[in-house]
Symmetry: C3
Subunit: 271 residues, 3 copies
Amino acid sequence: MLGECLVRVRQKAPLIHCINNYVTANDVANLLLACGARPAMADDPAETAEITAISAGFCLNLGTLDSRKVPGMLESGKTANRLGIPAVLDPVGAGSSRLRTQTAHSLLESVRFAAIRGNISEIRTIAFGNGHTQGVDAAAADVSDKLDAAILSAKEQAKKLGTILAITGTVDLVTDGQRCFVIRNGRPEMSRITGTGCQLSALTAAFLAANPESPLQAAAAAVCTMGLAGELAAKRMKPEDGNIACRGYLIDAVYNMTGEMLEKGANFEIR
Amino acid sequence: MLGECLVRVRQKAPLIHCINNYVTANDVANLLLACGARPAMADDPAETAEITAISAGFCLNLGTLDSRKVPGMLESGKTANRLGIPAVLDPVGAGSSRLRTQTAHSLLESVRFAAIRGNISEIRTIAFGNGHTQGVDAAAADVSDKLDAAILSAKEQAKKLGTILAITGTVDLVTDGQRCFVIRNGRPEMSRITGTGCQLSALTAAFLAANPESPLQAAAAAVCTMGLAGELAAKRMKPEDGNIACRGYLIDAVYNMTGEMLEKGANFEIR
Amino acid sequence: MLGECLVRVRQKAPLIHCINNYVTANDVANLLLACGARPAMADDPAETAEITAISAGFCLNLGTLDSRKVPGMLESGKTANRLGIPAVLDPVGAGSSRLRTQTAHSLLESVRFAAIRGNISEIRTIAFGNGHTQGVDAAAADVSDKLDAAILSAKEQAKKLGTILAITGTVDLVTDGQRCFVIRNGRPEMSRITGTGCQLSALTAAFLAANPESPLQAAAAAVCTMGLAGELAAKRMKPEDGNIACRGYLIDAVYNMTGEMLEKGANFEIR
């Protein structure tokens, strides 16, 4: 089931337009190439909507946010909506500054996102305005250790926002408000690599673009792909390896992942 | 012959000013260091011409184009021309938006480029305005499988643009309008790595800067260096390796390449 | 002594706000994660002071300087000063353009830096206005081979600037004007990797943030950590490896470095 979602990405090779922060843009582009998609990076308001229009998916990332580029973000989002191109939002650092929080809110007012991916603190900020974001890490106060309550809350937030939510952390939750994939792939080493979240958001856009019939499944498949790649990467690590080796192993694991591998390695339940 | 071009880059260690997109800037800087050159990255119109003026070569890349920075691009190009510093243009994504296409054209009106490197679609767009660019990949419709016609067309375009053209694809063509190097180095894996084109453009600027007497040969040597490095990288790949490993092997192959290795490994004919 | 400084970084996991150039931002973020700190990257004047305010350290890097972002740099610097957050300046390329030199000077007029890290040419430019910077490499004319004179001069410059200076080169000098750590860690291979200087500046901010009681020692520990990591990286290099492999080994060596390793490997004298 999830394996087929990956196979379709490789078959369709969707062009994914990313407005991405400059910290992780290279890794995001290489991760998209690794999964079989093709990246297009453009963020000037003078061209961004045109680039969205020729793409199959759109991923909007708020890291290193430049206020001058917000009008182009809105234009691209509206263009994606008009043309039926799935748009993904990664609200990096929402809650850590007024600019980020307000930009996230104004995007949500004007653009319908097929999926939003963030940590629990970022998602709470955009859903309820009460997250406690510090930098790009989920603040400890926001991490719920009660799974049932977390699932219920995720579903509520997805309904409220009218989108698929992918809330990533120790356990990942992917929900459209009705069903919730509870995903236990991934490794703690991934939090020591910059940009694994950004990469996953772009990957989600690629999976949504290639699997328009089953968006919830597609988003869950993207999350499982990233988590499984993290597991394979951690297994390859030698004693002298650190986060840079792990970063490379992770993207290379996506490069070599087959639908069958994903099918077998995906570790989830549906609630 | 081509090997000496590389040796001269290592001897002269030219400072290469790059106005580069933020996606591949790190790889470009490391590739320049790998070949023995030194990178300088600056794109603010308030300083860009000054940085060009202290450099031995200039490379202008249109990826993640920022319209606010176009005046600085023009200033740098004119400064390079005035001081006899070779300027290379990489028209990333020309044809995919009006901003990119118009910027490429306005640069061509004001600046004399020693070389332009792009895929066939980008080159056709700037030569004839009729390419079909989608993202940064050559659109299939533009790929000619008839080599003789492709060579003839490349020569015509080089004459029309008054520059050396390096048109990279399955087979690479490097021509000044009179002679054409037909180069068969390189590996398909390179198209799965973001930024190999950007790296080659900067490498071309380094080779031109260090070999002012023989620009066509210098540009061909840069293309062969990159392609040969791709071959060496592909040979090092282990089953678990993917595009990130290949990216590292490629730059490291340039780091370790000698003039002799290039001389032996360069696979070309002159037409 | 120095080992404890590293241990405290890992214990406190300080959030480090970086205004960093886009060439090396990814490496800087991963290096901060490798040492146990957490990166926050934001440079828009509309949010930069807010991000500084929630951070434990601040690192300001002038590479790929964007004049539009200078007001935010000043705001962040003043905010850091007001809240007692250590601020580090990396005057990349000071002396190579009026914009860089003037920006460095206007920052020094308004902001008190806990430490400034640069090569001898950059430091002389900001201290005396008479450096000879070419690109980001120390111009040969500025390299003193007379150690005693270099130490004396470094101390004078530190006093003049009222800060800790970390002047990195073949031998590294770290001084507060009274005492000077003369550090002989490091390897020549590091100069073939883009961004090792930027990484060290951010690392210095992390060490200062975690060791407020002993800033000179903290800055010296950061310089020794980076140099020792370079030595460990060079030892791991295989014949086919180049600067990309070395870059990864270096960050991974920081990831795996213990306080004990640093204590044993730090190679310095105090003058």
